[in-house]
């Protein structure tokens, strides 16, 4: 009983930090409609800055509690300023761009911040020295409970109260609330939107920074904090209802308690548990606990999609030449080039599978890596436990991915907009968590090794041809499906669900089939990748992998059928070049993403297509 109480209090203490970061995220989303991936980075910066500032203050005035608190607040203010700066330099230019491009741009910021942090603070975890008063305990029902955690419990409600005052009593707060409800109206009232948005970013980022700062005594500052917290923060914001601060408060309590007791009940599946809670809440309340439907007003892909026409002859010829060159590569290219080529072919299918969902399907998946990873693990588990040969492993791969595609897809296609995207992210995190935590099955972080091709395919050239047949074959099949009646019906359901249903089309079922097809295709890609690498790891399912797929599709252009192919080639080329030549490749990649989003909001293939059509007219 006492143990349960302590666990409950621990949950409350964790809820405070979670609430700080989630409230910042939800306020930013509510006003600007930007799904800000970089919010986790602000949290991380909060921890690092607090580490530096608090230590500097202590050096100067002794290890006093009030200097500690001042240090945390200063760190939060500094992070707020950084957030405002990012808003002014970058986000301000892309409020009109499609939601996804904003998301990508913020992910570019994530990469930049990672490298900047690495450069400034180094790769080691940074613990804050803990003076005696920080290590103090209080007696709670006969158990020792950290005093600091007890204080943290009150931070959440206090901040909630302060935010309430801010939103009720100040002009800024009233504008924030008005903009959350109806952005256009506030614009029409002649309010200075720029200042409002910058102010909101300052506030939101400062809250994230404070969240990072207050966890410093119990958790070292480290470079994994950003992505670890962002998934959790998304869960809290979505469960609470996007844009709702009280919702975020309730949800942070719920999630933190689920975690606190999950550790006791199912230590191996805490992460899974959190995301299951989210999925369950969304099934009952599709807009979160306290959210409202208008929280996502815009179509996920932005403006009206252009008509899809058959590819012009030149493009087909170019494709055939590229294919011939790839197939002939063993004649003129070395083993490294062949390895790169195999990866490229895998990524083309991975991108094409996501494109089917995002383009014609209008279903934006933030967690497509799940199916890639399930494919890879399908093959690897087959090897590990059943000792199946490669041929069978390559059947298991799409099978496992497709199976999960059916189950997850069934839930996903019932939602829309940002909530849908967040649910896909949640499902992907469930799969990732299983791969990461269920060590007996998956080997955890160490992955599964020894996933080698059958003897006949060990030769690089033969494996390349196998990959070409499987991956490009599947890509071409997906392409055909887009041009076939199914693809038209899918686009019909995306363009106007109302009209689609009024001519006998079952929009949800069309989307589900697209989801499963995409999962199967990604599973094939994952399976081939597993055999190409000889091993599988949880990173195949991680958020960055899902973002890779998004990047490839968006780089290429969502609304062009050739987009994913162009995007995969461009992305992989860029990635490898940076990896090889640039020491700070993450920052460089982040900068490249940001630059590309600013330069080509319709993707590279979309850009070329528009230029082409302006010059030669639409192909028919």
């Amino acid at each position: 009983m006492d143990f349960l109480l302590v666990q409950f209090l621990t949950g409350l203490a964790n809820a405070s930090a979670l609430f700080l970061i989630a409230s910042g995220l939800t306020v930013i989303f509510g006003v600007t409609r930007v799904v800000n991936f970089a919010h986790g980075s602000f949290y991380m910066l909060g921890a690092y800055l607090a580490w530096t500032i608090v230590r500097a203050l202590w050096e100067w005035g002794g290890r006093e509690p009030w200097l500690f608190v001042s240090g945390l607040l200063l760190a939060a203010l500094a992070v707020g300023a950084i957030g405002a700066l990012v808003e002014m330099i970058l986000l301000r230019r892309i409020y009109r761009a499609p939601e996804l491009f904003q998301l990508l741009a913020t992910f570019g910021v994530v990469l930049i911040v990672q490298d900047v942090t690495l450069a400034l603070w180094g790769p080691e975890d940074l613990p804050l020295p803990r003076p005696r008063w920080l290590r103090a305990f209080v007696e709670v029902a006969g158990e020792r409970f950290p005093l600091y955690d007890l204080i943290l419990i009150f931070v959440g409600p206090v901040v909630l109260g302060l935010l309430w005052l801010l939103f009720q009593r100040t002009r800024f707060g009233i504008l924030v609330r008005a903009a959350t409800q109806d952005r256009e109206m506030v614009a029409a009232l002649g309010v200075d939107q720029r200042a409002l948005f910058t102010g909101v970013f300052f506030l939101g980022s400062a809250l994230a920074g404070l969240g990072g700062a207050i966890v410093l005594p119990s958790q070292n500052a480290n470079l994994q904090m950003d992505l670890a917290i962002i998934a959790e923060a998304f869960v809290v914001v979505v469960v609470g209802g996007m844009g709702s601060v009280p919702g975020a408060f309730l949800a942070s309590l719920l999630i933190a308690e689920v975690q606190a007791f999950g550790i006791v009940l199912v230590p191996k599946a805490t992460l899974v548990l959190v995301f299951l809670v989210m999925a369950a809440v969304l099934m009952v309340r599709p807009y979160g606990l306290l959210g409202r439907p208008q929280a996502h007003a815009r179509a996920p892909t932005g403006s009206v999609a252009p008509v899809i026409r058959a590819a012009p002859g030149v493009l087909k010829i170019a494709g055939a030449i590229a294919l011939a060159l790839a197939a002939a590569a063993p004649l003129y290219a070395g083993p490294y080039a062949l390895t790169v080529l195999i990866e490229l072919v895998v990524f083309i299918l991975f991108a094409a599978s996501l494109h089917l969902l995002m383009g014609p399907g209008g279903v934006v998946s933030f967690g497509h890596a799940a199916y890639f990873g399930l494919g890879a693990y399908g093959a690897a588990l087959g090897v590990r436990f059943l000792a199946v040969p490669m041929e069978a492993g390559l059947v298991l791969a799409p099978l496992l991915a497709g199976l999960f595609g059916v189950v997850f897809g069934w839930f996903v296609v019932r939602l829309s907009g940002v909530y849908l995207a967040m649910l896909t992210l949640a499902f992907a995190q469930i799969v990732w968590a299983a791969a990461f935590q269920w060590v007996e099955l998956t080997g955890g972080d160490n992955g599964i090794l020894g996933v080698w091709p059958s003897p006949w395919a060990r030769d690089k050239a033969l494996f390349l041809w196998l990959a070409l047949v499987l991956c490009l074959g599947a890509t071409l099949l997906l392409r055909r499906a887009i041009y076939a009646p199914f693809g038209y019906a899918l686009r019909a359901a995306r363009d106007s669900e109302l009209r689609a249903e009024a001519i006998g089309l079952d929009a949800a079922r069309l989307r589900l089939v697209a989801f499963v097809l995409a999962a199967v295709a990604a599973g094939i890609a994952g399976g081939v990748y597993a055999y190409a690498k000889g091993s599988v790891f949880p990173t195949y399912i991680s958020i960055p992998k899902s973002v890779d797929a998004l990047l490839m599709v968006l780089l290429g252009g969502v609304q062009t059928v050739s987009g994913p192919i162009v995007g995969a080639v461009a992305f992989h080329g860029l990635f490898l070049t940076l990896l090889q030549w640039v020491e700070w490749w993450r920052a460089a990649l982040g900068l490249a993403i940001v630059a590309l989003v600013l330069a080509f909001p319709e993707g590279i293939a979309g850009f070329v297509q528009r230029r082409w059509e302006a010059r030669f007219g639409a192909a028919s």
Binding site: V307, A484, P485, D495, L498, R499, A502, I503, G504
Partner: protein
């Protein structure tokens, strides 16, 4: 027997939105080959009636029979399969497709060819689609994307789509809104001809009283969710309740 029985029969339909009773005890019946106009001022509940009839909204009370078969609980797509075509007050077409492709998708669905993954849809039912577009005068624009069409043209495309499944019942919510007067007459003439030739039952709403009085066989007048009058053009024009509702609003033909 079935040729005498009405195509559509609705009894005692009620639909509430919170406190608003948008449709209040509406009953109507419609025979094959008949043009029935449903008129009334803004917010009278006309579109809500349409939404009840095609399954988009579920009635709080009442029943709807299509050729004697109850439509209770069926979604729009199932009702469409039973032969109910519809156009919307605010047009709903597939903006990323050409005019022809819009009709082709409807035809593919009608012929149950949606779940095909191999042959290009571009070549499916081209002749049929163009014939339908010819009927509504959109053949020349078949290759234009729906996203760039003028509003009146979108209404025509919607009619072509609605006709794609050879409907028994056609529901048209303000089919001529956004068109020039001459176009309106032409479109309604066309509709009336199709309705007569094919024995379609057609229910439509319209704010243009020339269109209503010129093309409806029978007129229902609605106000605040209730039916307040019914009859042919002359009877409705003479009805005191109708005059009351429309007086001063200036929408009755020659009623300035």
């Amino acid at each position: 027997m079935s040729s005498i029985a009405p195509v559509l029969e609705a009894r005692g339909l009620v639909k509430r939105f919170g406190g608003v009773v948008a449709v209040d005890q509406v009953s109507l019946s419609l025979r094959a080959g008949e043009m029935l106009a449903l008129i009334g001022p803004n917010g009278a509940g006309k579109s809500t009636c349409f939404n009840l009839l095609n399954g988009q909204l579920r009635a709080d009370a009442g029943e709807i029979l299509l050729e004697g078969r109850s439509l209770a609980g069926l979604p729009p797509r199932a009702i469409w399969r039973l032969g109910v075509g519809r156009t919307f007050q605010i047009t709903a077409t597939f903006a990323s497709m050409t005019v022809r492709e819009n009709v082709q998708v409807a035809l593919l669905s009608h012929h149950r060819r949606i779940w095909r993954f191999w042959r290009a849809a571009r070549h499916a039912f081209v002749a049929e689609a163009e014939a339908l577009l010819d009927q509504v005068g959109m053949r020349e624009q078949a290759d234009r994307p729906c996203g760039v069409l003028a509003y009146g043209d979108l209404k025509r495309v919607e009619l072509a789509i609605a006709l794609a499944n050879a409907p028994k019942l056609l529901l048209m919510d303000e089919p001529t809104a956004g068109m020039a007067p001459a176009e309106r007459i032409a479109l309604m003439e066309l509709t009336r001809r199709l309705v007569r030739e094919r024995g379609i039952a057609c229910l439509f709403t319209e704010h243009d009283m020339d269109v209503v009085f010129g093309h409806a066989d029978r007129i229902l007048v609605m106000n605040r969710g209730r039916l307040i009058a019914e009859g042919d053009a002359a009877a409705v024009r003479a009805d005191p309740a109708v005059r009351e509702v429309y007086l001063g609003s200036g929408t009755t033909s020659g009623g300035h």
